[in-house]
Amino acid sequence: MATRYTREHEWIRLEGGVATMGITPYAQEQLGDIVFVDLPEVGKKLAKGDEAAVVESVKAASEVYAPIAGEVIEVNSALTDSPGMVNESADGAGWFLKLKPANPGEVEALMDEAAYQAYLETI
C-alpha cells in the first residue's frame, strides 16, 4: 500500500497488517541535525494523535504523534545510537516504530503523496 501523510509531517505505510511510521523528509529538513529520538515502549497502546515519540535536533525538540490508533509492536532501536539515520533516510532506514492498527481503515483516510505535496506548498 502507498504511503500516507499527516499535517504534522508523519508518514505511515501499511504492509501485511503492520503500519510502519516515521517523520517525513520535510520534517527532518526543518528540524536540522537530529541528535536524539525518544521511542515508546513496545506494547504501548496509542490513541490517534497521542504522543508516540519525541525527536530532538540541534534546533528544537518536537513530539511525533500517532497518525492512527494502535499498539506499538516494534521500535527502530538503531535510532538510539544513530539518530542521524533520520536525516539520512527519513522515509526508509530512519523509520520510528511499527504499529498494529486498531482500525486499518484509518490509514486510508490520511493524505496521499499528492495531497501532502500540495499541503507542503501551502506552508
Binding site: D33, V35, F36, E56, V58, A60, G84
Partner: protein, 522 residues
C-alpha cells in the same frame, strides 16, 4: 615613520595569513588549560603551618594517596582565573542583544550596596534580632513589587523565573483543590517560553497549545474555544515572545475567569511595561518577576537569578511560606502555616531560606535610585531602542508580523536570507567576528529562522547605530553571495564553529586527566 629615537611608530602592513605560534597563544590571548591540567605537586601558593602531631583516629579511612589538587603559586592561580575572566563576553564588555534575556546594564551603585557588610556578611540562620535591617529590606522590595504590579501579595524567595512559575502554578493548583476542583489542563500559547509548558507538566497538568493569530498575538476566540471546566489556568507572556503586546489580554483574562480558571502571567518581559501597565489591572492572578531581567541584577553564566511571584487577591491566601512581615515589634520571618495566620492557607514551603539576598539588595537599589519615573523611562527607552533597531533594518531584513511597532525586542525571520545560502545560524556566527554577541536565534519557534534582538535601555544611540550598520553590512554581504565567509564564521574567535551535532550526539561528559607527557611518550 620613525620617531626621534629611531623606533618605528607605524605598523608594517598587516598580514591576513593566520600565523601558527609555538605556544598556541595568539598575541596576548592566552590558550588557557583547565586548572587541573596545570601545576606541579611540589608547589603550593599557601604557607600553612605544619599540623600538630596527633594520633590519627581515621584508621583504615585515612587517605593513602594525594587527591591531585593542582599545585600553583599565588600568581599562577591569579593568572589562571583572570585569563578565564577575560574570555568572558559580558554586558560590561559589549552590546548583548539576546532577545528575551534582557541583558541590561547592572548599575555599579547596586554592587556597592550589595557589598555593605550588613547585607553581604550575614547568615540565614543568624538570630532575627541581628538582621532586622536585611529583613526590612526584603519587605520593602516586596512593597515595591506589589506597587509596580498592582497585586495583593508577594512571595519574594523563589530563586529564578522557572522556580517562580512553579510557585505561581502551585498556588493556582492549591486554590483549585481548596474548592474541590480537580482540573487537569493548562493552556499555553505556541510562542510561550519553553519553561511554561514544562512547569505545567511538572505540576501534573496536561498542556494544550493555543495558536497565535497571523499578527503574532493570541486571540480571545482561540482561547475561548479551548476553555472548559477542565482548564486550570492559562500561562501567557505579555509582551509576548514575539516582542508584541497582547492587546486582547483583558478579554482573555475575563474569559479565563468566567470559566473558573486562573491567569498566570510569565513576567519575563515585565521590563517593557514597568511604570506603564500594572499586570494586576490586566486580570493577572499570579506572575513571576525576573529581578535579573527587569531590575538589573546580574545574570548570564548561571545566575544567580531571583524570581519573586506576585499574587492577586484571589490567590493571596495560598501564597507560600516563608515570607517576611513587618510588625510593631520589628521585622518577622514567617516560616510556618501557623505563623502565617488564621486566614492563610499557604500551599507549602517554597524555599528553605529567604532567597537571593544579594539580588534583593541590587533590585531595591535599582528601584530606589530610578524612582517610579525613572523606571517608567527605562521601559520607554527599552521599547524605543528596539523600535529604532527595527526601523533601521526593516528595509533589508524581514519582519514576520508586518511593520507595526514592537515592544522591547525586535523580531525578524529568515525570509531575507532566502536564496543566499546563508542561514540564521551562519548570520549569528558572522556577528561574532564583528565583535557582537549574537541575538537570540531560532526562538520563538513560531517564526522561521527567528532572530530576536533586545537592545535594552542601556545602549546609547551611537552604540545602536553601529550595531545596525554592522547588521546592514552583513545582510549586504550575504546578498552579494559571500556565502562561504558566513559558513566559515566565526573566523576570528578563539574557537571556530563548534560541531553542535557531534556534541549532542556523542557528548563527552567526563573530564579525564591527561597523561603526563613523559608517560604518554613511552
Amino acid at each position: 615613520m620613525l620617531n626621534s629615537e629611531g623606533r618605528p611608530t607605524a605598523p608594517a602592513a598587516a598580514s591576513a595569513v593566520e600565523e601558527k605560534t609555538f605556544t598556541g597563544n595568539r598575541g596576548l590571548q592566552i590558550e588557557e588549560p583547565l586548572i587541573f591540567e596545570t601545576g606541579r605537586e611540589d608547589v603550593t601558593g599557601v604557607d600553612l603551618p605544619e599540623p600538630p602531631k596527633a594520633p590519627s583516629r581515621l584508621g583504615s579511612h585515612a587517605r593513602k594517596a594525594a587527591i591531585g589538587l593542582p599545585g600553583l603559586t599565588e600568581p599562577e592561580a591569579m593568572r589562571h582565573y583572570v585569563r578565564l575572566s577575560q574570555k568572558n563576553y559580558a554586558i560590561d564588555s559589549g552590546l548583548y542583544p539576546l532577545g528575551s534575556c534582557t541583558m541590561k546594564h547592572n548599575p555599579r551603585l547596586n554592587e556597592k550596596m550589595a557589598r555593605l557588610p550588613g547585607f553581604a556578611d550575614i547568615h540565614p540562620l543568624q538570630p532575627l534580632s541581628t538582621v532586622q535591617g536585611a529583613i526590612e529590606l526584603i519587605a520593602e522590595l516586596g512593597r515595591w513589587l506589589l506597587a509596580s504590579t498592582g497585586m495583593a501579595s508577594v512571595a519574594v524567595s523563589p530563586k529564578a523565573g522557572a522556580h517562580g512559575e512553579a510557585c505561581g502554578m502551585m498556588a493556582i493548583k492549591a486554590a483549585l483543590e481548596a474548592r474541590g476542583d480537580k482540573r487537569k489542563t493548562v493552556l499555553v500559547p505556541e510562542s510561550a517560553h519553553g519553561t511554561n509548558p514544562a512547569t505545567a507538566a511538572l505540576i501534573g497538568y496536561s498542556v494544550v497549545d493555543v495558536p497565535a493569530g497571523p499578527d503574532g498575538r493570541v486571540h480571545p476566540d482561540a482561547v475561548k474555544e479551548r476553555l472548559s471546566g477542565d482548564v486550570a489556568a492559562i500561562m501567557l507572556t505579555n509582551p509576548n515572545t514575539c516582542g508584541l503586546f497582547e492587546r486582547d489580554v483583558t478579554a482573555i483574562a475575563d474569559a479565563v475567569h468566567a470559566a473558573g480558571a486562573y491567569f498566570y502571567a510569565d513576567g519575563a518581559n515585565f521590563n517593557a511595561i514597568v511604570g506603564k501597565v500594572r499586570p494586576g489591572d490586566l486580570g493577572v492572578d499570579a506572575m513571576h518577576i525576573n529581578l535579573h531581567k527587569t531590575f538589573s541584577t546580574p545574570h548570564g553564566g548561571g545566575g544567580p537569578g531571583a524570581g519573586p511571584v506576585v499574587f492577586s487577591e484571589r490567590l493571596a491566601r495560598h501564597a507560600p511560606v516563608p515570607f517576611v512581615r513587618l510588625t510593631a515589634d520589628g521585622a518577622e520571618f514567617v516560616e510556618t502555616r501557623r505563623q502565617a495566620g488564621k486566614t492563610a492557607e499557604p500551599f507549602g514551603r517554597i524555599t528553605a531560606f529567604h532567597g537571593q539576598m544579594g539580588m534583593f539588595v541590587r533590585a531595591l537599589s535599582y528601584m530606589l535610585s530610578h524612582g517610579a519615573d525613572g523606571m517608567r523611562q527605562a521601559s520607554e527607552d527599552a521599547v524605543l531602542n528596539a523600535n529604532y533597531i527595527k526601523a533601521g533594518l526593516a528595509d533589508l531584513m524581514s519582519l514576520p508580523y508586518g511593520d507595526g511597532p514592537c515592544m522591547h525586542e525586535a523580531l525578524f525571520d529568515d525570509r531575507f536570507l532566502e536564496g543566499t545560502g546563508v542561514t540564521t545560524l551562519d548570520f549569528a556566527k558572522a556577528m561574532i567576528d564583528e565583535g557582537y554577541h549574537p541575538m537570540t536565534m531560532y526562538f520563538p519557534l513560531v517564526v522561521h529562522g527567528a532572530m530576536l534582538i533586545e537592545p535594552t535601555e542601556s545602549e546609547s544611540k551611537a552604540s545602536i547605530d553601529l550595531f545596525v550598520a554592522t547588521l546592514r553590512d552583513l545582510v549586504m554581504r550575504a546578498k552579494r553571495g559571500e556565502v562561504e565567509r558566513f559558513r566559515q564564521a566565526p573566523m576570528l574567535a578563539p574557537r571556530r564553529r563548534l560541531d553542535e551535532t557531534r556534541a549532542a550526539r556523542s557528548p563527552k561528559l567526563k573530564w579525564e586527566k591527561p597523561q603526563p607527557w613523559s608517560e604518554a611518550a613511552e
